[in-house]
Symmetry: C2
Subunit: 506 residues, 2 copies
Amino acid sequence: MKLKEELKIIVLDWPIEENIGVLNPEDAARNDISINDKLIVEVDGKKFTVYARISKKVEKGHLLIFKPLADMVGVKEGDEASITITDIFESLTYIRKKMRGKHLSKDEIYTIINDVVSGKLTEVEIAAFLLSQMFHGMSMSEIEYLTRAMVETGEVIDFERVVYDKHSLGGVPGNKVSLLIVPIVAAAGLFIPKTSSKAITSPSGTADTMSVLAPVEFTVDELKEVALKAGGCIVWGGSLHLAPADDIFINVERKLRIDPESQMLASIMAKKLAVKANYLVIDIPTGPGTKAPTVKDGRRLAHLFVELGERLDMQVQCGITYGGQPIGHSVGPALEAKEALEALHGNGPTSLLEKSTALAGLLLEMGGVAHRGHGKELAYKILNSGKALEKMRKIIEVQGGDPSIKPEDIPIGEHVIEIRAPCDGYVTHVNNSAITAIARAAGAPKEKGAGVVTPFKRGHKVNKGDVIMVIHAERATKLQQAYSLAQKLKPITIEGMLLYTYPEYV
Amino acid sequence: MKLKEELKIIVLDWPIEENIGVLNPEDAARNDISINDKLIVEVDGKKFTVYARISKKVEKGHLLIFKPLADMVGVKEGDEASITITDIFESLTYIRKKMRGKHLSKDEIYTIINDVVSGKLTEVEIAAFLLSQMFHGMSMSEIEYLTRAMVETGEVIDFERVVYDKHSLGGVPGNKVSLLIVPIVAAAGLFIPKTSSKAITSPSGTADTMSVLAPVEFTVDELKEVALKAGGCIVWGGSLHLAPADDIFINVERKLRIDPESQMLASIMAKKLAVKANYLVIDIPTGPGTKAPTVKDGRRLAHLFVELGERLDMQVQCGITYGGQPIGHSVGPALEAKEALEALHGNGPTSLLEKSTALAGLLLEMGGVAHRGHGKELAYKILNSGKALEKMRKIIEVQGGDPSIKPEDIPIGEHVIEIRAPCDGYVTHVNNSAITAIARAAGAPKEKGAGVVTPFKRGHKVNKGDVIMVIHAERATKLQQAYSLAQKLKPITIEGMLLYTYPEYV
């Protein structure tokens, strides 16, 4: 029911993101509005939803909202708003349908995603949608519509070139492979405009790591220019408004610590479809704490990605990789950037080189610049020839960084603690989630110089007194916190050593 | 992690119920607090949870919260608060366990309910708990623990007498049976301290209807005095803090329009266990729009209530009743109070008398004052003898109303529209949810004089021009809205008449 009168917007400058609109008690009573009623507010064709609150502090004829909402929807103090009281959204009807395990049509999914992006659905309703996906799953058609709806409600970037791309499912710390894959692939003449994310729960996202070497935040137009000039790039996708529903879903998923498979598939592929990727390599790490604990899980996921890719006219190749311990030796933005740059200089750890060239090789084969089964070989060749380093310098330069940067130029956190092996033995286990927690406690990713170095990996022989872990931090207090955590979590297991002897580390 | 410094509370007087705490950016940065981090705030042993927000408008060393939260937890401006940053609640771990369909232990359920009641869990997390119940169900042991946990986190009232009680599952408008059952049962010498609810989605809850005749809001001590003095009462349970988790669950259930069976069982029985009911009759209406669409559904629910009752040492008897149309002729607080009072005077509609005496009879049999199979007969006798009316007058008196009130004294909304039959025929259908919507549009339950009267029920013969519905309202605008809705919803179907001829009603 639409209110006859219009209300004047008041904007209150407090950082309250909730969709709340406060009315005068008389306005509320006259229009039969109660607390928590859902109101659709329309200002100059812009529509948004608020939950009603009632307070005498708001003058009659006004609707008070908070600044974050006003900024998001683009309304300002004094704007005239027409108000409609709504009882139930169409999309809640469809979410309830999914709750009952029914199949959703294309239109129904589009309606839901439109309402997610326009802020009409509340977190509780979005949680219900995600949990219903988790409980009942989604068919491949539903996932396809979900993907397309997520793309169409955001920005789509057309580079007008054949686009190669790469995505890692995550869960493995130290996974700086994009900083090798992008220059290798671009050096081979394939266009790879990589958009990446900042860390949410990990010690460093690809965008965090790259930001040590060059700026990563661009507008869509700047991104196009940068990527076309260098033949590739490594930028932050967060400000580009690609499939913006994803951020909204992630926010709710984090609160419940859930990650429904159908939504994960749609979210990843939507980000890639939004840059019109033609060829995509997906890195599926397997191991505890990853999205695919076993190789069998990895194969099943790979099959789903390939099938979804076919429906979206995207050629997808999955690499199931070993994710049981960190990639390379270093974890944290600056440490990882340094290790990646060393690898491009021809001096990288085996696990990093192997994984990067294998995945880059898949793209080289898809692009027809290497014969089937010879991509990795070519990737190694490009890396060893220095062409990948040269291309990386070009990318750093066009993104606005210093192309002559050397690994030793990168500042690392000055507060350092070394942890030593208490006995002779073999490293039998390196715990990913413990390494992640310690690096984050040290300050990563916010403090770029913070992180962890693990000189020995699983299977290595260590002698009593060898340094098995170095923690770097920018602040002494953080170092101490990370160290306490390391003593508690015992991230590295050495064969034959009892866990409770770890306090002797000091 | 606990912050070293304490923060001074600032209370901002805006009606924002959300659990939000705003900090100065420097305090946040120094303690590594990000937006949406969950903080446990402790003031003089009182603990509550807020989600972090960050704003320069809050001075260093302060934590700003909003008034509704401050009032709820009982803290005030200037209080010193110690802050703990928390990562994940134990109870979220258990909710996630239920999400995966696992069985929860007693301790796990108690932890969840404690956190629900103390405000530690957010709506999203509570929604996840309710949806998990909906998707996976709960065993009878889990439901028992849920019930007990809900009771133990609230007030428990010990009347130190054998307690008889009655509950209706709802979904049927006009269900004023408690206003007959309580005085009948109390007149037979059985103690029946009935706590009831106000309407949330119906046109009138029992507490709304009773409030037309006498005050219904009491403290626990007052309630004890009132109930013991009259041998029974009909009061509002909402202010008594019985099983307070229920209100929190209902709030989320309404937003998603869900009503998980296990939670419903626990919530109803918790309210009854909290008044230490020994004998309980549950009215299970069957029909479209009720919780038991078919008699078979009703039997299944009845079985669950009886089993749960056994576990809680409560003797439960269920009455499966016909809920296909309103009970009696009138819907809305004053109209229903009037009809109930008329029935106590010996002048009630058959459906109301039949249902009330049948359910009262079950309690009389359970209490041993009637032989098995003869309870209804005795209930009728008590009603016809005037003893029920006499007891009702006593109840009205001790609750603070006017015991001499007559049906004709009750003020009914003065704005009236009659709707007439457009043709001869039989009433083949009276639509519960349409009647509910029209009565609410007319102003019920807020405006007590508003409501709907339907002189003819299903199966009755009507002639063209007979009044088949009267709408009462306190305000002309509301009457018009209710009338428009009636024209649209066509709540009463007369055989042989095509629905689209209804506009001719005018």
